[in-house]
Amino acid sequence: MSTETFFTQAFVYLAAAVVAVPIAKRIGLGSVLGYLLAGIVIGPFVLGFVGAEGEDVMHFAEFGVVMMLFVIGLELEPSLLWRLRAPILGLGGLQVGITTALTTGICLALGIAWQPALAIGMVVALSSTAIVLQTLAEKGLLRTTGGQSAFSVLLFQDVAVIPMLALMPLLATHSMEVGDSEYHAAETWIATLPGWARTLAVLGAVFAIVVAGRYLLRPVFRAVAQVQMREVFTAAALLLVIGIALLMEQVGLSPALGTFLAGVVLANSEYRHELEADIEPFKGLLLGLFFISVGASIDFGLIGADPGLIITLTFSMIALKLAVLLALARGFRLPLDQALLFAFALPQVGEFSFVLLSFARQQGVLEATFTDPLVAAVALSMAVTPMLLVFNERVLQPRFGTKRAEEREPDMIEERNPVIIAGFGSFGSTIGRLLRSQGIGTTVLDHDSEQVELLRRMGLEVYYGDATRVDMLEIAGVHEAKLLVLALDDPDTTLKIAKTARKHWPHLRIYARGFEWRDSYALYQAGVDEVYREALDTSLRVATDLMRELGVRAYHAERAAQKFLRHDHRFLRELAEVQDQGRETYISEARERIEWLESLLRADNTDEYLERDAGWDPTTLREEFSESPPDTSGEADVERSVEV
């Protein structure tokens, strides 16, 4: 492809997205449908801007799915998997099992041999992770019970593809097509192996990724992070994803599965949030491209040739899946509205089915007479999904839904903490350790990879990441967090994050480590809720100890320090206000306060000062008693039994 055609293509795709997506969103159809429609419009059957090469673009864009699965994998900590074990294994397992069994049964009834029938069954069982997650996330439904259940089922399916692919060679009924395939996989050495060896090779590749992810990737990322250049880290992240994709293609496995696995393996590493943030924009753009190419690749020629067959095929697949999903949801006691959401989210056949279909064809399981109409039906079913969800939302939910007012289910997808701490040097780590000891969850970000490594070895959960980035904070869960603590050791960075965070999340409470007076004023003006000058408490503690050493009563010294702290902090806030009213005003205001505070603290029991501890001072009582007659005076109000 020459540069010129590349740019022309890029222009067409981007323009289609930029025009169609906002329109679709405005009408309330969601971005996925917008992309799909854009694809249809620019595709060979409407405007014809893209045509034969749509296939290539689809190949390229599948990389969006690869990245999406990597990101999903990254979010899947083992603890989360454990918590979701019931819906994943129960709902997911039953959905895949029953749908496969029913489809296979129907195919057998139609007189198809059992091997291709089983292959078709597996193809139909899968749904589209890309479309469903994107659509649900956009509608904010991912955290509902129905959304959670859908996520769990998708997860099971994504993993189930591995054994399905491994099983495929064993189902071969006729010799393999070689050279005819559009996939490179068939040309690799692996295709020459017997079925059982191929199955072994597939399992071996999976094992290799898990081992490499566990023992090789973290030191590599640490080394890259130490360079302290963001783009190099991004490059490393992309390199990882592309590398795994290549490896997977070599052994004839789905790249998406490989990266998904790598994501899961890296989910516990300190680089998880940073990797997510780096991959995210590529993922979004490529997913959009993927949806467009799905739209463009819908073969209206084939559909037009036999519209009855394709449409029957599409809708019977959808109807079958819908029925199974609905029955399962009710069986698992989902409330009706959630059951409907769950069922209407998942009835399409997904992108992995494309992979399975072409793999089945290469392996000689299915013939083109089966796969071509199936591919068309799969694409059509994906295109119908957003409309089905809109139908559920607009027609079914108002009628059957027991719309509970914003009853939020406990967060399950990601574990979110109420406190995010940026900067985990000794300042931040003290905060984090105390909070954690009190059972308060904290998400910690630090940009010093050596520090992160050290702290993790000590058993602290710290993530490597640059908190000045909005996307990084988002991934750390700033939406769900109540408090953001800025504990970095650099005033400029602190101010930068404070401004960004205040701008994006006006309701977030921000607590910042301050440095000098000037930095602290700037932080207050940036909208930080509370500023703590880093050395203040420590220096007061030193002063307290010095006083005690010189014979001052400990409690007196302590109270003097507390009083100092209270007023000094008040001055900071007050002076932050006058700070920009000119240097002279500021200096005189500051000077006035400093003098006032010193005189206040100098106050002992000899003078009338504002905040003397008069309650403990018997002077006035002594004066009164020396004037009045003794005791039995009967004055009820002298009950202040102060003595000394």
């Binding site: 002992d604 002594r622 003794p630 005791d631 039995t632 009967g634 039994s641 003595e643």
Partner: protein, 205 residues
Amino acid sequence: MPRVLILFAHPSLEHSRVHRRLLREIPDDPKLTLHDLYEAYPRLDIDVEREQELLLTHDVIAFQHPFFWYSTPPILKQWQDLVLEHGWAYGSDGNALQGKDFISIISAGGGEAAYCSAGYNRFTVRQLLAPVEQTAQLCGMHFLPPFVVFGTHRLDGQAIDTEARRYRHLLEALLAGEPDPTERERLATAITINGFVNRLAGSPT
């Protein structure tokens, strides 16, 4: 010979005339421990384990404090709340303090006559100390009537010196294992222990 622990609580000793003077009279005896609570815990973060350890190694427990608002200063209340744990100081298994002596050493602004039903404080000091007496009782300690320095607002330097000597006599008596059983019998219903101390000191009331 009994060991004596004085739990001393005064939030502003620097303002004090009486207690500062009293403390100077504390006998130099290894069996006596003065524990200055505000000095030890200026942030009121009482170390319960350490306090219980101290209680276990002494036989006579004394609270010494000004009678602010008819009660102990806050740190001493905090001390009671935290240190006298259920299952340790009281309750079916709580017998750590069983059989120890307890005494309050307090200074009051009003004169002795003010502390009676006819006086403006309307109650005797022992009546006002009822919560402390009951606390000691519940912990299985023998409650001795309080040693009280009355009328502190009107005491001049000389009078304070006299009070300080009486205080010294009290501590020496406690260190010597007094009062004896017969004396305890007599003190059971006494309002203060002052009379007993005066007899020891041989000085008039």
